[in-house]
Symmetry: C2
Subunit: 345 residues, 2 copies
């Protein structure tokens, strides 16, 4: 019986990383952590594997397509400005290289997994984007095991297990929001979190907490919600029912913040006179709610383009272009103002 040939997939599996990461290491490219690089080199040595010309020849049978699987409730998909902007950005990066995007919008984990399996089994795409990364997410490993190249889009500092990551700096926006509220005299700043388990939900909560600590402010109350309007309204009532309600609330997204303004208004609490409100996303409606929403704006189109350029480079085993991503913006509008409960000087 002939001995089975060792493949890049075997090395990736043994090192617990994606094939892309192995390829990156053997082409001396950045984007792989030192620890992962060590595991990869050890795995390749153990298995006696070397990158071959065959790998390059194989790439000639590329599909010229990459995939994106979006797992979202229809409500959250249609209010989240992330995906349309991300897809518009991806298009810019893909069209320049004559690639197509294959899209699946799925309702749950099972159908999401099936979509990746089908991508691989039917050779529909060469690589995929992974978004909405969860804490302890098993998908990067599963996707790598399917032999698909992978680019992960996640907040800075997320542990992606050696995969190539396009980092979004969620924390920078939150830090600016807390500083803004602090400068207006607020010292009781609450946070309404998005759906638990997502890396970006955690990144925003952590930045809120750390900035309060840096400023010497008490860590205000925090409520876990779910990024929906109903969840934002519920969380707002919960905070305003406290014996010592906050004078400002920082929400994990704009939809919850706008529902929060509505909930406060219903109780006769005026925004911003009695309560300052900050969102996250800068949805196109944000300037048109009453009062207009102070919020964090990220340049998602740029991330989409960078992610696409990086994924195409991975698929083609080329050097990924260096991409300069524009910084996050903080947009001050009418929903934040000086607190009337200023601490005695």
């Amino acid at each position: 019986m002939p001995r089975k040939r060792v493949t890049i997939g075997d090395v990736a599996a043994r090192a617990g990383v994606s094939k892309s990461a192995v390829s990156f290491v053997f082409n001396d490219r950045p984007g792989v952590s030192a620890a992962a690089k060590e595991r990869i080199l050890a795995a390749a040595a153990d298995l006696g594997w070397q990158p071959s010309a065959r790998a390059r020849a194989l790439s000639r049978s590329r599909t010229q397509a990459v995939g994106l699987v979006i797992r979202r409730e229809p409500e959250l998909l249609s209010t989240d400005p992330f995906f349309p902007q991300f897809m518009a950005g991806v298009e810019i990066g893909l069209t320049a290289r004559d690639y197509s995007l294959v899209l699946h919008v799925v309702p749950d984990e099972k159908t999401e997994r099936a979509a990746y399996e089908r991508f691989a089994r039917e050779s529909r795409v060469d690589g995929v984007f992974l978004t909405d990364v969860r804490v302890g997410d098993s998908r990067p490993r599963e996707i790598a095991a399917l032999g698909l190249d992978l680019v992960v889009i996640a907040p800075e500092g997320a542990d992606a297990g050696g995969d190539v990551v396009i980092s979004m700096d969620d924390g920078a926006g939150v830090r600016r929001a807390v500083h803004h509220l602090h400068s207006l005299g607020h010292h009781r700043i609450a946070h309404v979190m998005g759906a638990p388990g997502y890396v970006h939900t955690e990144a925003r909560r952590r930045a809120w907490q750390e900035t309060l600590a840096e400023l010497g402010l008490p860590i205000g109350p925090v409520v876990t919600a779910d990024f929906t309007g109903a969840g934002g309204a519920r969380a707002t009532h919960e905070l305003l029912d406290l014996p010592q309600p906050p004078s400002a609330i920082l929400y994990g997204n704009d939809l919850m913040a706008i529902a929060g303004i509505s909930a406060a208004t219903d109780r006769g609490i005026r925004v911003p006179e009695d309560l300052s409100v900050v969102g996250f996303d800068d949805v196109p409606l944000a300037p048109y709610v009453v009062p207009p929403l102070t919020t964090v704006r990220q340049n998602v189109v740029s991330w989409g383009t960078a992610a696409a350029q990086t994924l195409v480079a991975l698929v083609e085993r080329k050097q990924a272009p260096t991409v300069q991503l524009p910084p996050v913006e903080f947009v001050v509008r009418g929903s934040t103002g000086p607190t009337r409960n200023r601490r005695p000087a």
Copy 2:
């Protein structure tokens, strides 16, 4: 020199319809107008063409993929609840038949045309969905000429030149809105149109005008805008500057309506006490603006599924399933109320 074989494409080109329409006629299926059917039968007779077994054999080399090209500004894409819901619905229809969706988000007409050409040239998809149909749209003919199957998603009554259409009943929602405002005593009901040239923009305006006429109400002032918040705000100021401003405004979408509430509030005009406002779409934020928005809700997910089932049937030259689409809903919230300028009884 051998005589070139006559193809279904030749028949379609001569009849000025899509290949799908020819196929429908020769398989005795509904969805093609009597006039188009006559042209198709005449063209086939002229050219001596008959559907062949070969056509069925050819279908075995299907790509198992269909395409959607979205041409939108990023702002309008991320506020329009149509596409996320439509894509979620398409997914339901495609997954059941093991098809994938190839998506392109393009900025302008030139890149849109290039996307269809590439679909055909590289055999990436078997058929496409066409949305955002314009008055006198040349795309159905161009797509048919490329040999792609086509399903058009357009308001009822749109002229699609013999192509298979999934009809959305935009008019029904507008009619209910006008009746609602009439029952509240309004007799000066204005309309803010979306971007001109789209079939759905025209369908909404026409339904507004016809319903006013049916009710014996004067045809109120109408302003052309562009579906954006800025456009909606501008149009609202224009209407409120009139010597006889309207007591109610019906907007072509929710984004313009919400910006309109904001513009009115800025002028000290109260909604709904001084001005009633109706939107169109029921975006997830609609219940959370102040006051909550009265609006029209369509079941776009169902249309997506119906469109996908129909396109797959076209591609496979099978009978399209009969789909019962749920009726449009009219959602009454706080932005509409009795007029204080009631006509003397």
